[in-house]
Amino acid sequence: MTDAATTPDLFSKFDGLIEQRRALLANGIEDPFNLVMEKVLSPTVAVCNGRETILLGTYNYMGMTFDPDVIAAGKKALDEFGAGTTGSRVLNGTYAGHRAVEQALCDFYGMDHAMVFSTGYQANLGIISTIAGKGDYIVLDIDSHASIWDGCKMGDAEVVPFKHNDIEAMEKRLRRIPEGAGKLVVLEGVYSMLGDIAPLKEMIAVAKAHGAMVLVDEAHSMGFIGPNGRGVAEDQGVLDQVDFVIGTFSKSVGTVGGFCVSNHPKFEILRLVCRPYVFTASLPPSVVHTAATSIRKLMHAGDKRAHLWENSRTLHAGLIARGFTLGTQTPQSAIIAVIMPDLERGAAMWEALLHEGLYVNLARPPATPAGMTLLRCSLCAEHTAEQVQTILGMFERAGKTVGII
């Protein structure tokens, strides 16, 4: 027999968060985590609450979502291959388009192997949990993305974090790992909360000196960092030292999906042993065809890359000049994080910007490092120079309204 009064409610663990949310919304503020894009007019403009809104928080770095060739490829694939595969990659779910997008990735990165997952989250989850097993050690940056942490949690390896971007702290941990144990160092090119980059050249040299394999998540650098847009490792001249590059289609590529590229000679066996690859349906044909078309166009996107960097530099300098505190001293990527004094004023600023007609991401713990509340801006190569000036004006007015500057 059960008694309602003594039956533990599994949801009681969320009471703190429920109360924090209630208190925030009780002030009449709009829910920052429940916004609906009613219409999407372009990579940089949508309609939210009936208001035309500039999008500055989409990770749509290269603006490929509305590229005419990309759209055409998707429509054609819908007509020719149908709406979905209804199957796993290892059963009935590998179509010509899945092979085509994997070949596009091999060509883009100049690597031998590419494996496409249904999301970027699953790529990290699957690769990390599968290659690092019992008795192996994963050494990772403490500010790693949730998908990396979850990959660690799902596997059986010993997990050893080190302080963010701290080469010496990483070296110490590698040095202390027992002789003979397998080692995987997990790093990111761009850390998405503050938009800062990693000193990959130095860190990878240390990792290799200790006999570790190296995995780098380049989700936030693909398409615009490095001479060929291959990411931070390419930019720092060490891509050939990286054993596994993890990436995503949901940022610069402009659709959804995740991948790992590698030169490891035994890489293909992962298709049979990696559970987040095997036990889920593959991406729809329209998605893989849009991705393949987009990736091939990104190989020749030098002008767009240059414009994106110009946007990033202009926004960074403009926000500093207006008295905002930013996550990085210099613009290091297409992410510019504006540090808020606390969650309440962060949410108020977010709402004030929305009323101005600007969407940014409100980021807060536990996603953020050091308990920070951030307004995270991600720029797009399709933002015009005029839009960036408009954005700066919106920040100035909203910042003064809320009392942050």
Partner: protein
């Protein structure tokens, strides 16, 4: 290395982290009695690792909730 030696060295490392000067016993908890957040825990674990030149993996940390469990774990890791 014996437990008493380990205990004394941990006590020295913990002092700057024990901001409220909580009197420590083997049953004192890091989250509860010392009220440490995850960032403090990370810095403290790094300090302990440096002091003894060891690794305390996340997997091992999950089993360590009290001061006494930490002393036992470090003593065991050091062999």
């Amino acid at each position: 290395m014996d437990r008493a030696d380990t205990s004394a060295r941990i006590a020295a490392v913990i002092e700057p982290f024990n901001k409220k000067a909580v009197a420590l016993t083997d049953d004192s908890t890091f989250a509860g009695d010392l009220e440490w957040d995850s960032l403090t825990v990370m810095d403290f674990v790094a300090a302990i690792e440096d002091e003894f030149d060891i690794i305390i993996s996340m997997n091992q940390q999950a089993e360590i909730e009290t001061y006494g469990q930490l002393i036992d774990a470090v003593t065991k890791i050091r062999g």
